[in-house]
Amino acid sequence: MDAQEIIGRRVARELRTGHLVNLGIGIPTLVANYVPSDIKVFFQSENGLIGTGPIPEQGLAHPLLTDAGGRPISALPGASTFDSAMSFGLIRGGHVDVTVLGGLQVDAEGRLANWMIPGKMVPGMGGAMDLVSGAKRVIVAMQHAARGKSKIVRKCTLPLTSSRTIDLVVTDIAVIGFPDGKATLMETAPGLTVAEVMAVTEAELVIPDTVPEMTI
């Protein structure tokens, strides 16, 4: 199982029937592939759809039905469409139960930076700031490290996405929560020890008495 699949499978286990869920681009998008069949959630696409379905079969795509990246999608029975003001009203208004977003850095207090690298990458924040500010639960799905450097940092050095802290970060090697506002190691990936995770994590982690392995 590759790193992205581990992350996608573990995040999918956070979803519950009836949840309204918004998935960001990249690894978060993969979560939809791993939702257990007995869990029925609504996926929102912030360009104006609740009830996004899989990519349509060849020849069945509709040019006016895409995801937020402009790629063709389908709509499931029971789907609804709306304008961007409504879409972000849902997001900011606390109607989205879970958002899953990518990350550049998450720090020891649960702050997230995921929208720009000054001087290098200035694409615009799109919907990320609204999602972090307004969703009931914010989960970050990302690789634990980039080019050998921990993305779980003591303090974010990149511009923050929101002053609101996140609830959970799922990486290829760990699940980290923030009870009492402190990064706490909740689970390790199968086959990894707590010490191995700590060794590649810049931020100081609170280690509970028992740290189970991820169930994926």
């Binding site: 006016l64 039905l65 895409t66 304008d83 961007s84 003001a85 972000f88 500010s133 307004g134």
Partner: protein, 215 residues
Amino acid sequence: MKAISVEEAVAKIPAGASIMVGGFMGVGTPERLLDEVVRQHKTGLALISNDAAIPGKGIGKLFDAGLVSSLTASHIGLNPKAQQQMLANQIAVDLIPQGTLVERIRAGGCGLGGVLTPTGVGTTVAEGKRQIEIDGKAFLLETALRAQFALVHAFLADYLGNLSYALTARNFNPVIAMAADTVIVTAEHIVPVGVIAPDHVVTPAPLVDYLIANE
């Protein structure tokens, strides 16, 4: 509402005009109007749009043709030409959170001075803005946005100018149709009055100034 040709409609737009354009990554964008803006070479445009689409599609065509002087948007990351023009200081780009952008436009169309949003508090977005506390929660004061023109793409337009939209092509279109002095519309289909049931009209006819006639 008046049905006119795309040439006549775009001739009404002066160089340097402020223009809101509907669409999300080029989906729900009035392509025929943008093609004509390029053909008539309207320069120095101040654009307000969700994103910069991609080169060759939607609003991306205006960057290809070098017609843009400023852009207010939430995301330009998928249009390398818009990024290059921004980094070379050829265009001024104001990047703002998507929910804030659409609410500022909505406010502009609804006679509000602005909105209070928690989005951006404690980030670089808050710089230079008034922060207001209400019931112990911090909000940013985000002011209303309007433009001289809104270029809207609908799915159905009836002979009076009532509009409905399809699937994810709705996005910013009904919101910008409220927030500009002159509203110009293209539609996938022009239909008789009554085909769009009153309950299904999203943009009421009095908001529409010009509908681009079929060829």
